[in-house]
Symmetry: C2
Subunit: 246 residues, 2 copies
């Protein structure tokens, strides 16, 4: 029946206070210290007891509401949502995802070269059709099984991929280390039959269903940074997402 976890604040830390509070609430929820369905204490009391202002406390709770872990009801209170919280689709690469899950991913670079952009790629990256772009094709494994075939296109001049260690760090981590921060991405998830070439690479039969994802990512200047066409083996991969009504 704890209406709140034990929370310690470090005011000298550069980590924002609302974030510290949110983190510790999240840990308490994930560990089960606060059970699903439990009501947490009201904002005013929490703020007073922690020595915070109410807006700061509200901001902490809001971040968890946005994550789908808490639900607020005016006149009632704030509750922990039922149902285990699956990881939602995030702005991270598959490599990061797998590494976090401890699955030991491995990447094989099939090719990395400069080539003219096809029509769709040019449109997504906002370059002229036929203009040169980086073209990267990779095959990702979990253990010995091929998992995904990934084709990425990046505008030239943004980054020099030739020297990047793409086998060990993932595309997004490579971009981050070059100071390129992805802020917005638009994805389209679909499904189609494997081509012969895809089937060979992924060790599937020709015509097997593949889960596909197209993504265009934009940096914090709103510029298109990456366009990708990926294909996943559906027995090994799916997209989990949490939707929250505002």
């Amino acid at each position: 029946m704890p209406g709140r976890p034990a929370i310690t604040l470090d005011r000298s830390s550069p980590i924002p206070l609302y974030f510290q509070v949110a983190e510790q609430f999240e840990a308490a929820i994930l560990s089960g210290a606060i059970a699903p369905g439990d009501r947490i204490d009201n904002e005013v009391d929490l703020a007073r007891d922690l020595g915070l202002s109410r807006p700061t406390m509200r901001q902490a709770i809001q971040t968890l509401v946005d994550k789908g872990m808490l639900v607020r009801k005016r006149g009632v209170g704030t509750q922990v949502v039922h149902g285990k919280v699956r990881r939602s689709v995030e702005l991270t690469s598959l490599y990061d995802d797998l590494a976090r899950a401890g699955q030991e991913p491995r990447t094989e670079i099939l090719h990395l070269r400069r080539s003219p952009a096809d029509e769709e790629t040019a449109q997504e990256l906002r370059v002229a059709e036929g203009a040169e772009v980086w073209s990267l094709e990779r095959l990702r494994f979990v253990g010995d099984e091929p998992l995904a075939l990934m084709r990425n296109y990046l505008p030239i001049g943004l980054i020099d991929l030739a020297g990047a260690d793409l086998e060990h760090h993932g595309l997004y981590a490579t971009l981050r280390r070059s100071g390129i921060l992805i802020r917005v991405a638009r994805q389209r998830i679909g499904c189609r039959r494997a081509t012969t070439a895809e089937a060979t690479r992924l060790r599937e039969r020709r015509g097997s269903p593949l889960l596909t994802m197209q993504r265009t990512a934009y940096d914090d200047a709103g510029q298109a940074v990456e366009f990708g066409r990926h294909a996943y083996r559906p027995e090994l991969y799916s997209f989990d997402l949490t939707l929250v009504e505002r």
Copy 2:
């Protein structure tokens, strides 16, 4: 070069001020009155000119940032994101989606009955295995083409589906009208071959790839109110989503 659209505020309206501002900014962006890449005026000036406080103005901008339409950069400003804003995955039903797109959807109810919950359904809805739940199966058309086969399971007692007009209103609208508000939903998107029964219903060949979506929806009390297993024809449907880094 407009740093802002013309904004009118109605302080007597029950619609929150921050929402009024966000709506009008959104309209200006969608209409192209503010072009992608344009920087909008800074928060302080906007707040002053509109006669609002800065937190309110910030809240307005934040809602659009959350939607992926704007990007903020500390020390720099706030910009309109490039790339047309596709509809993101929202907490609405397919019926709502299609109706909004003016596609004239049509729904055929294949069956609506009470039946014992299988293991997965029972777990998702948090009822005992074998307990009775509503079982609803529908086939959705766009024009003459079957688009999706939808199987939904709802706990009994929450709502009486027997009298609902599911052919014309969609499941979520029906729930809304009964005072049940969906606040959080978890989805898993995948892909597999069609079974014979599915292929017949969807006018596909047996073994054709189908896009699948599993969803569990929770109301504002955190209770599971719906579990669904849907299958879509991949030539006619895909999932678009916008991801935003927080």
